[in-house]
Subunit: 471 residues, 2 copies
């Protein structure tokens, strides 16, 4: 019996895919990584995941866990050897239980994020994790990569939304750690060790996640600013004035907004005259537990003070939900409107908020010196210190030239990030994309500790090999 | 040259204590554990900590890291062999830097928690970690044990307040992980692995901690309740109505308040008639970013609705700061007033909030069945699912009898906690006190993973041996 026959016998014909049927699982969605698999296996329960892992260990077959396959770093794509099994968690998609009094929900790894959000909402609760791929990414993938998204400022990263985990270890044992406790000091924090480990230490099969009250009202404002320095002071004022009600603080470069209106003429920048031409804008979101009127009043008071202090050149506060949506739509259209600038080289970096302005000035200058005329396309989550610092060809280069410069651009930007005490991957993870850059920037003691942990928990290097750490 | 002579040569006579000078370091502050040490060494810098660790490794000398020696589980007390070095972090007490724009501060492990809070306040920021021992405990100890305290509902446990760490590994290498980043997905979460590991994997020497805006106003209310079930519904309503402004929700049994007024006649329960005789009370704290008036209005609206719904029998909302303080003082006097009940057997447990009422009923009944007439002294942080479920002798037993029953009482309570999906140590850790109970309640796969990690990172078992895990 061939290995694939064995798998079919164990998991059933329709849950073991081979040949062309594996195509959508062996390529990442951006089409950057193309791999091959012995088979894609879709176990139907945690016990079946454990059975599959034990089979893989017995046969020395590498495993690549996969959720919605929406990752941006090739972390869920097998290598091209065709030796690995892609372990798709898609069938583990039950909401196992909801506990509204405890504000928790037990969810399986293969649940689509949007379904998780909906299940919370059906119970008059909020599960705040929210990101562009939410219609197809899975909670398991979100946890494997410690996803960020738009609500980090208030609710934290994915890891901050989890109380307990169920994990199949690299030996195929099941750790039942699905605790719904906000306080538990009885041992090492294995939960956070598995979260963000990109499937290289074990397989998360379910999680106990935190739920929150649904805000009564949300209100949005767009501020026009002269500088990032001003934006940083306004952020402090907003944190002080709104407390935890401040749920969004996005920074947007003027050329990004102009790119949006150029691509989508039905959208407009809600400012006239010089305010429409400023270099920076900030989008603020306030989530209120009281009322829409109260949110607006608070906005007027706190933003009003920043205008009086000369920190904000101009401000538009949404009068109603549709105006709020229009402002967010401007922000959310930026990645799509980037085609106005042609292909761009993207960076997902974080910097201490206090060094953001200097980082942008310094990095822009370093790039201009090396690649004169290159265009900067910068936006991001200022409240989290997270910039999508992208680089477009401008009028100076062709697309081909830009792509040929890609690795050098990465290095200039990441070297600068490192110099400013930042991270070369704020929210997307490492995967294959940044694996080989890691040793350049990571503390060697830290990297050695990571290798020791990998070696201990996965001694045969079968769990997603070649991701995060080179083999 | 003797080993102690070598240490004196390396660190200076006044920083190497021996004989009687070690007494206050080799006994825990509650006087439950009495150990002995080869010496107490007080290194003056991270480099010196690393040097000391390397010396200990070279000489196979166990190390017991110690901060303010205020732990409740004997985690910082050496065994009685006299072979260990107590590594006191007290001289590493610098606030290395404050970054108000980034809302972070870099603090050394030996800083007294109160000094850390003060340094934040001096910069118009809040460091919210707050607990009874804050005048003498150190940040390093708080992180080693992942301390809880009174602000967990809003700000989380100690681990949630940390962005980066500096750690001396069990090999005496220095990991510089003092990142001030809110997003960083470039590898395994070593930060959370060291936090809460009680000095068994390495020594935390400094941390980058998060700062928050200082609330503009705080307001407190005391509610009189018929049952824990009602308290749980009120908690949900308060979370919904106040959002993240709800910073405290303490549950107090009626006999605890009566014990306080009995011990301290100058304090009084602020209710008259039947409301003063109810079985449960809840203390709520609201932290407002707007004004004291606004906080009070919100209280009246949200608490008013729970009274109308018949969930709350009676309520007192503090009119001013001194009334707020009087209400908190009632709560904070409970541990001291427990002497009104004589010595008690204490439990620091957590339970899912939704199962709290059933847990108390079931556990009370189990204890009464086994030890008729025993008295229950129950209070805790309901919002975190954390109960201080204490057991006093009542009129039925002498103190001696109670102490003889101690281990059986632990077992009845902890078995019940386990049955309700709870934790036998919510915020105090394991140390020596609960080490041998752990295998009874911990998932064996989890315990095996913990042992593997310990074995890898500290292969010679020199880092705080015998704490958390039996050797």
């Amino acid at each position: 019996m061939t290995p694939v026959d064995e798998l079919i016998q164990m998991f059933g014909q329709q849950h073991v895919l081979t040949g062309e049927d594996t195509d959508s699982y062996t390529t990442d969605w951006r089409g950057r990584y193309q791999g091959a698999a012995l088979a894609v296996v879709r176990p139907g329960s945690t016990a079946e995941v454990a059975e599959l892992v034990r089979w893989c260990v017995a046969h020395s077959v590498p495993m690549v866990p996969q959720g919605g396959n929406t990752g941006l770093c090739g972390g869920a794509t097998p290598d091209s050897s065709g030796k690995a099994v892609v372990l798709s968690l898609g069938r583990l998609n039950a909401i196992r239980s909801v506990d509204t009094d405890n504000d928790t929900m037990v969810v399986e790894a293969g649940c689509i994020l949007q379904s998780v959000q909906q299940a919370a909402r059906d119970n008059d609760r909020l599960f705040p994790l929210s990101l562009a791929a939410e219609g197809s990414c899975t909670l398991g993938g979100n946890l494997a990569t410690n996803a960020g998204g738009t609500q980090v400022l208030r609710y934290g990263n994915a890891r901050d939304l989890v109380l307990g985990l169920e994990v199949v270890t690299a030996q195929g044992e099941i750790w039942n750690g699905l605790r719904g406790l906000r306080k538990d000091n009885t041992g090492y924090d294995l939960r956070n060790l598995y979260i963000g480990s990109e499937g290289t230490l074990g397989i998360i099969t379910a999680a106990t996640i935190k739920l929150f009250p649904v805000p009564v009202a949300q209100c949005t404002a767009l501020l026009a600013l002269e500088s990032i320095d001003d934006a940083v002071v306004v952020l402090s004022a907003a944190r002080k004035g709104f407390g935890a009600a401040l749920t969004g603080f996005e920074l947007i470069a003027g050329n990004c907004l102009q790119g949006v209106t150029q691509c989508y003429p039905q959208q407009r920048i809600p400012f006239e005259g010089p305010s429409a031409q400023l270099p920076w804008y900030a989008l603020l979101e306030l989530s209120d537990s009281e009322s829409a009127e109260h949110a607006r009043e608070r906005f007027e008071e706190v933003v009003g003070a920043t205008i009086e202090d000369g920190l904000v050149a101009d401000a538009v506060i949404a009068e109603n939900i549709s105006q709020s949506k229009a402002l967010w739509h401007l922000r959310e259209s930026i990645p799509l409107a980037e085609k106005a600038f042609g292909k761009s080289i993207k960076h997902d970096v974080s910097i201490p908020v206090s060094r953001m302005a200097e980082f942008v000035t310094t990095t822009n200058a370093a790039l201009q010196q090396r690649f004169p005329g290159i265009e900067h396309v910068i936006f991001g989550h200022l409240g989290d210190g997270n910039l999508h610092y992208n680089v477009a060809r401008g009028d100076a280069y062709t697309e081909e030239q830009l792509l040929a410069m890609q690795d050098d651009i990465y290095e200039v930007v990441h070297d600068s990030v490192h110099q400013f005490g930042g991270s070369i991957s704020a929210e997307h993870g490492v995967g294959q994309l940044k694996r080989d850059a890691l040793p350049r920037y990571k503390d060697p003691v830290e990297l050695a500790l990571m290798r020791q942990i990998k070696q201990t928990l996965d001694p045969h290097n079968l769990m997603n090999p070649g991701k995060m750490l080179a083999t």
